[in-house]
Symmetry: C2
Subunit: 203 residues, 2 copies
């Protein structure tokens, strides 16, 4: 066991990630600083530079972790959604995740995304493909499943952010869930109409 000593940490990289997450969970405001993370990890202000090139790469790592957790949270809500009801359950999980981890969610989306971070790009792609996959499975007949997937994502994402920014009634989880379900159902009870509308918008 090498991490019993105080000097060599053992796994400072992971500890930084954990510290960053703790700070985000505790303080709703998203400002994540390298120094604060180091402090929380019980290490000198410059130690994280052994593991992260700069502040941004730490934030990217945190965001990537957030995407992975979000994906896990969604699949946990329903492993293989195939009906509008299933899909609504996944949508509720999305908004719930944002409300439960507001600072993390903000870090994932509001911080400028650097295209350099392959880890982050990959994690984002997972979400996109996941949503597209669901929509394709649930509506095999849809002409433009990708556009439909974008619509769902935007709807749910918008609900999440409006809740985060205090623009909607978030008093109880049930109120939130009902709104999300109602919105998704409204959208999905007419899925085939989408591609039709998209086509008519072209002209």
């Amino acid at each position: 066991m090498s991490q019993s000593g105080t000097y060599h940490h053992g796994d400072l990289r992971a500890a930084c990630l954990r510290a960053a997450r703790e700070l985000l969970e505790e303080d709703g405001s998203a400002g994540l600083s390298l120094r604060a993370v180091a402090r929380r990890a019980g290490v000198s202000p410059t130690a994280p530079y052994r593991h992260y090139a700069d502040r941004e790469s730490l934030v990217s790592a945190v965001a990537a972790e957030g995407y992975r957790e979000l994906a896990a949270h969604l699949t946990a809500a329903h492993p293989a959604p195939s009906t509008p009801d299933d899909l609504a359950a996944v949508a509720v999980a999305y908004v719930q995740f944002a409300i439960e981890h507001p600072a993390l969610f903000r870090a994932m989306f509001a911080e400028p995304c650097d295209p350099t971070s392959a880890e982050r790009v990959a994690a984002t792609a997972v979400i996109t493909e996941y949503v597209q996959g669901i929509v394709r499975d649930a509506f095999p007949g849809a002409d433009d499943a990708d556009a439909l997937a974008t619509t769902v994502w935007a709807l749910v994402h918008g609900l999440a952010f409006l809740h985060l920014d205090g623009k909607l009634d978030s008093s109880t989880p049930e109120v939130v869930a009902d709104q999300v379900r109602a919105s998704v159902h409204a959208l999905f009870s007419v899925a085939p109409a989408l591609s039709q509308a998209a086509a008519s918008a072209e002209q």
Copy 2:
């Protein structure tokens, strides 16, 4: 004419607002600082304190102005929308506004909103009521017009933020507009189904 001199400014309050807006338009990143605003207004770092209690009240004033402009931009898109097509045009205007003024839009929504600022609260209410009014006019028969309005707002708001955060294809205004129109149409071609879905979600 008193503003010819350099000492007394004339209307520093308005000048600060203008300076803040310029800074937001120039630099996509939202960090608005009192000192930078003062600098831009050509005034000492502490002069703005004559007109704003602190940084937050400046930001609130900027946000309120943003809400008012957004409202104007929406009504300009269509003065009295009554069909799904009209409504889609307004939705396009919303997303367009966000894309054209990303930093302002972020300041309006992402910054923590202080309930103290009556000006800001009022400006937000205007947007909400505006959207609700449109939905009520366009769908007089809808059982729960407010829930429907929230759904529209969330959809459009989500599209706006996903574009801002580089998660969707924003290559040309036309691509964006088509997506927005398609999404709104999909939602609205079945408006009456919403309240029904909401009711079934309750059980």
